[in-house]
C-alpha cells in the first residue's frame, strides 16, 4: 500500500489520538477513544510510515507512543556557555592553592582562617584550574590539590614563579593594613574640604 496517498480517517484518528495523549496508550485505550474501532492495522501502518521520519511510533510493553528518533537526540539538547565570575571565596581558595601547592584542604583552611565549603573547590575543578594530584602521606591521607596548566594560561603566567611575592604585594599596597589605608583616605578628604572652605 502506498503511504503517499492521504491516510484514511482511522489512521488519522489514531495518529491524532496518540499525538495528543499525555501518556502511552494501549491498543484498547485507543480503541475506546475511537468508538471501539479495531486499530491494530492502523498502528502498524503508522509505525511503518514514521519509521524513517524524525519522529517514531514505538510500542513499549503494550503501550504505544510517539517519540523523537534516537539519532536526533543530540539536537534536542543544546549547550550554552555562560560566563560567570568566580566568587570571592573561590578566588581566595584559588590563590591559596596557587601560592602553596600542593596543598590539602585542611591546609587551605588553616591559611584562609575560615571553613571552606566543598562547593567552592568543585567550582575550581569544574573551571579546570585546580585538580587533585594525589594524597599526602600523613594520617588520614588527605587529597592534595594543585593548579593546572589551564590556570597558568588563563592568568597569562609562564609559570607559578611569575606570581608576585609577598614583598611585591606589600609594595603594591595590597598588603597595607586596612585601617591605615582608611586614615589616609580620611585625611585627604579633609584637605579637600578645607580647600572648599577657604575658597568660599
Amino acid at each position: 500500500m502506498s503511504e503517499d496517498s492521504a491516510p484514511d480517517d482511522l489512521i488519522r484518528a489514531v495518529e491524532a489520538c496518540l499525538f495528543a495523549a499525555e501518556e502511552p496508550l494501549t491498543k484498547d485505550q485507543i480503541s475506546t477513544h475511537l468508538e471501539g474501532a479495531e486499530v491494530g492495522a492502523a498502528l502498524a501502518e503508522l509505525a511503518e510510515h514514521y519509521a524513517q521520519r524524525g519522529v517514531r511510533l514505538v510500542e513499549r510493553g503494550g503501550r504505544w507512543q510517539f517519540q523523537t528518533a534516537p539519532d536526533l537526540a543530540h539536537l534536542l539538547r543544546r549547550e550554552r556557555e555562560q560566563v560567570r565570575r568566580l566568587s570571592r571565596a573561590a578566588t581566595e581558595l584559588l590563590a591559596i592553592v596557587a601560592y602553596h601547592e600542593p596543598v590539602s584542604r585542611a591546609e587551605i583552611e588553616a591559611i584562609r582562617g575560615v571553613q571552606t565549603s566543598s562547593g567552592t573547590l568543585d567550582v575550581l575543578m569544574e573551571a579546570g584550574w585546580v585538580r587533585s594530584v594525589g594524597r599526602r602521606e600523613v594520617p588520614g591521607r588527605p587529597l592534595i590539590y594543585a593548579t593546572t596548566p589551564e590556570f597558568l594560561s588563563h592568568f597569562g603566567l609562564a609559570s607559578r614563579r611569575d606570581l608576585p611575592g609577598i614583598d611585591e604585594l606589600k609594595a603594591a599596597g595590597l598588603l597595607d593594613p586596612v585601617d591605615e589605608a582608611y586614615d589616609e583616605m580620611m585625611a585627604s578628604d579633609e584637605e579637600s574640604e578645607e580647600g572648599e572652605d577657604s575658597s568660599s
Binding site: 491524532a16 499525538f19 495528543a20 495523549a21 499525555e22 501518556e23 507512543q65 510517539f66 517519540q67 523523537t68 534536542l76 539538547r77 543544546r78 549547550e79 550554552r80 556557555e81 555562560q82 560566563v83 560567570r84 565570575r85 568566580l86 570571592r88 573561590a90 578566588t91 581566595e92 584559588l94 590563590a95 591559596i96 596557587a98 601560592y99 591559611i111 584562609r112 582562617g113 567550582v123 569544574e126 573551571a127 584550574w129 588563563h154 592568568f155 597569562g156 606570581l163 608576585p164 609577598i166 604585594l169 595590597l174 598588603l175 593594613p177 586596612v178 585625611a187 579633609e190 584637605e191 578645607e194
Partner: protein, 266 residues
C-alpha cells in the same frame, strides 16, 4: 450563579455565542432582567436587532419608543434600574422630541446628527459582538485542536565558563595573608591640642574683644588637618568649660549652626 451578569446568554459549553437577545426571543414574555445587559447601549443593540433589519436601516424613532417603553415597564414593576439606563432614557426622549420638531427650530448638533452617531455606535458594537462570536467558534487549541500531550521538551544545558582576573587573584591572596597576620596595634604620636592648651588659647582670644567670635575662627589657621580636628574638639570642650565657670557665654542659632562665644562682662 450569575456569571458576570451574563449567565443568561451563555451557551451550554460556556462560551458566549450570540447576542443578548437570546433569552428574549419570546416577545410576549417581555424579558425584564436588566442584569442581562451590559448597559444601555447593549440593551439598545438588542432592541435594534429585534427590528430584524440591517443595523444600517434601523428606525431610530422606533428604537427610542421601544427603549422608553421597556424602561417604563421596568419602573411599573418597581424594578431597580441603574442610573445610566434612566439617563439614556431621558436622552432618547429628548432626541425623539428634537427629531419630531420642525427643522428650523433645531439647534446644533442637529438631532439627525445625534441619531446617526447613535446608529454608528450600535453598528460598531454589533460588529464586535459578531466578531467575538466568530472568534470563539473557531478551532481553539485545547478544545478543537490539541498540542502534543507529552512533549519530550527541548533542553538547554547551561555550562559555566568561569572567569577571574589576575588582579582579583592577587588581591584575594593579599587579603588572606592580611587576615591571618598577627595583629600588632601601634598608636602613633599624633599632633593634638590638649584641653588645657585649648582653654588657655580660647580665653586669651576672648580677652581681646567683647564681640561674639565664632568657635571655628579661633582654630589655628595653618595647622595639619589632624591637629585641626583635635583643636576643634578641644576648643569646643574648652568653650563649654569657660561657660560653666562663668567666664564666657555661648550662642548657637540653629541646630548644627555655628557656635559663637564672647567674654562675660566681669
Amino acid at each position: 450563579m450569575n456569571e458576570e451578569g451574563a449567565a443568561t446568554t451563555a451557551t451550554a459549553d460556556g462560551d458566549w455565542a450570540g447576542p443578548a437577545a437570546a433569552p428574549a426571543h419570546n416577545e410576549d414574555a417581555l424579558y425584564l432582567e436588566l442584569d442581562g445587559w451590559e448597559g444601555p447601549l447593549d440593551l439598545l443593540l438588542d432592541l435594534a436587532r429585534r427590528q430584524k433589519v440591517d443595523l444600517k436601516a434601523i428606525s431610530i424613532l422606533e428604537l427610542v419608543d421601544q427603549y422608553i417603553a421597556y424602561i417604563e415597564q421596568a419602573e411599573a414593576l418597581k424594578l431597580e434600574i441603574a442610573a445610566d439606563y434612566l439617563v439614556m432614557a431621558s436622552w432618547l426622549a429628548y432626541l425623539k422630541s428634537a427629531l419630531l420638531l420642525p427643522r428650523e427650530e433645531q439647534e446644533d448638533p442637529s438631532p439627525e446628527e445625534l441619531a446617526l452617531r447613535l446608529q454608528l455606535r450600535l453598528q460598531r458594537l454589533g460588529a464586535m459582538r459578531e466578531a467575538a462570536a466568530r472568534l470563539m467558534a473557531g478551532d481553539r487549541l485545547g478544545r478543537d485542536v490539541f498540542a502534543r500531550g507529552a512533549p519530550e521538551g527541548l533542553r538547554v544545558l547551561t555550562k559555566s565558563a568561569w572567569t577571574c582576573d589576575w588582579y582579583d587573584l592577587i588581591n584575594a591572596y593579599g587579603q588572606v595573608k592580611l587576615r591571618n597576620q598577627p595583629v600588632v596595634h601601634m598608636v602613633r604620636e599624633r599632633p593634638v591640642m590638649s584641653l588645657d592648651a585649648a582653654i588657655e588659647r580660647v580665653a586669651a582670644m576672648l580677652g581681646v574683644t567683647r564681640d561674639w567670635l565664632e568657635l571655628r575662627s579661633m582654630l589655628p589657621a595653618h595647622a595639619d588637618p589632624r591637629l585641626k580636628r583635635s583643636a576643634l574638639a578641644s576648643s569646643f570642650v574648652a568653650a563649654l568649660e569657660l561657660a560653666r565657670t562663668g567666664r564666657a557665654e555661648l550662642r548657637q542659632e540653629a541646630t548644627f549652626g555655628p557656635i559663637h562665644l564672647r567674654r562675660m562682662a566681669s
